[in-house]
Amino acid sequence: MKKITTLLLIMTLLFTMAGCGKTTTSNENEKPKIALLMADLGNPYFHVLRDAVVNQGEELGYEVLVYDGQNDASKQPSQVEDAIQKGVNAIIINPSDESSTANSLKDAIAQDIPVVTVDRSVDVDGILSYLVTDNKKGGELAGKWLENKLPEGGNVVHIEGIIGTAPQRERGGGFLSIVDPEKNSNSKFKILDTAVGEFSMAPAEAAMSDLLAKHDDIDVVFTQNDTMAVGVARAIETAGRQDDGIIVIGFDGAKEAYDLIDQGKMAVTAVQDFKFIGSESVKYVDAYLKDGTKPEPRVLVDVYMSDDKK
């Protein structure tokens, strides 16, 4: 009896969950469909990418079905299968990791459905194209921006993301290749200290508080993403050092960063051009579907500084 109750309970739960899922029914069956699979719409920054794909898609006459993987790598494969089932004409995917969707995407490719990956790649043959921000160049750009801002040099603190991840290595590496005197003998800057902020606000805030206790001659803080820059700016405020004129540089182009720049608490951020990546990916599948044109298999997208007119 107990087992049956449990079974019933689980089934009710499952049905409720199924009800929670968003069902996308198409009312205009004529329109060709593009499935957009986002790894994690929980990160507000990725909404820029989603909006770019949806807008460009509608402009070119597609219906865009948006899936949210909710940062759970196990969800995306079934979402790909669901998209294929719905008979989409193309798939644009921001994969949550490099491998979990590989098998399901193979099925799509076998049915000649073009697949474009954005921001991250998937380890599978036959992908139409892979668009990604050139993080290394972005780091270099931030470094060059700083050279222009402080031609006389200065003392730099470097707040790193999660150690070992590609953005941490590439953004930091690019920045240091310009600013670190050990890597660029022409640099007039000094790397005062390096700390880890794990791409997240609380650890960045704590690390910055520690470094503010240690140094009273910080001129510049380079953070590898905007979330950490927000934490750094808050630590500077808490320490009562907002009048020291410390230059805080972020990376991503998040809304919070623009807010802080407006308030004068942050100097600049290196913007990932998600708008371009989103609209470009739609153009790729559109060209392929129309006349079989193939884009470059890997496209590195340039970063621009937020104070740059684009």
Partner: protein, 314 residues
């Protein structure tokens, strides 16, 4: 003085020694560590992990564990952010958030005491559920700029009373209150009795269910208090806030000499344990140890502290 006496002294003051040695080493490597500014900075940082670890001490003393503390912190923070953003006066929002977080602790308590789930499993489940609810409520988006028109909330991290940072005052005040609660009340004695031998405690007519529920309530209360301080410190509530905090709290409890099998341990030990972790985090940044070594050294110190403790309790 014979060897047994030396052992006894170490048992009493071992954690203090560890902390002192750590302070001396770091100061020798960079004297800036021992400035008043930095000491207050450490206390401000430690107060969050410290409060959570105090709650964890009660739970562990009964032989349980609370893995959901970080998720309670995250959910409480987001509830607070939501209320502030929708115009609730900050005093009321803070009170509601704390009551809410305390109730989350009560859920854990009921699951463990009444439904008799293993604490590890029960709080593993609620840890995941509470984080899920946090994501649903916030849509994964952080609430920013919360302290702008919320002076009371701002005071929780930026405020100073007689030059002492307010979070440090909360931390020390709760240390005193919980010390008395654990050492000098019937409730405190029941907590120890429960962890020592649950069956014996039951037979000596200790209200097992009540005590077991209460320790999780305390843990939930302290985690939500920590949430208020963290939200104030960052002036924002992050839906991912508190992830992994349970491990730092457990580390502080264990370094402080509380046995994971329950029944043995002290709040003051946890206080020192939290300070050791705080000094370590801060000290490694102050000395300028590279990130690659930081993790390794932290693990080594935890191991060392626990081995020393084991030796001294033998």
């Amino acid at each position: 003085m014979n060897m047994k006496k030396v052992g006894d002294i170490y048992k009493k003051f071992g954690t203090v020694f560890s902390l002192l040695i750590l302070v001396i080493i770091v100061t020798a490597m960079n004297p800036k560590f021992l400035t008043l500014y930095n000491i207050l900075n450490i206390f401000r940082q430690v107060s969050i992990n410290g409060l959570i670890a105090f709650g964890m001490t009660f739970v562990i003393l009964t032989g349980g564990i609370d893995l959901s503390v970080g998720s309670i912190l995250g959910l409480t923070g987001v509830i607070l952010g939501l209320m502030i953003k929708s115009g609730t006066p900050d005093v009321i929002a803070i009170l509601i958030a704390i009551v809410f977080g305390t109730m989350l602790g009560a859920i854990n308590g009921v699951l463990v005491s009444k439904i008799k789930l293993q604490p590890f499993i029960a709080t593993l489940a609620t840890m995941t559920m509470f984080r899920g609810i946090t994501m649903i409520i916030s849509d994964g988006i952080p609430f920013m700029g919360l302290t702008k028109n919320a002076p009371v909330l701002d005071y929780f991290s930026q405020g100073r009373f007689l030059k002492v940072p307010f979070p440090m005052i909360i931390f020390l005040l709760l240390l005193a209150v919980l010390l008395v609660l654990l050492q000098n009340t019937a409730f405190g004695r029941s907590v120890y009795a429960l962890g020592g031998n649950e069956e014996a405690a039951r037979l000596s007519s200790i209200p097992v269910i009540k005590v077991k529920t209460l320790v999780y309530v305390i843990s939930g209360f302290l985690s939500s208090l920590a949430a208020i301080i963290l939200t104030s410190r960052l002036s924002s509530s992050q839906p991912t806030a508190g992830m992994g905090f349970e491990l730092d709290a457990i580390a502080a409890v264990v370094i402080g000499g509380t046995s994971l099998s329950g029944g043995k341990g002290k709040i003051f030990g946890t206080f020192l344990g939290a300070l050791i972790i705080g000094v370590l985090n801060n000290g490694l940044n102050i000395i300028g140890v590279s990130a690659f070594y930081q993790q390794f050294i932290k693990g080594l110190v935890i191991l060392f502290a626990v081995i020393l403790d084991r030796k001294s309790t033998k």
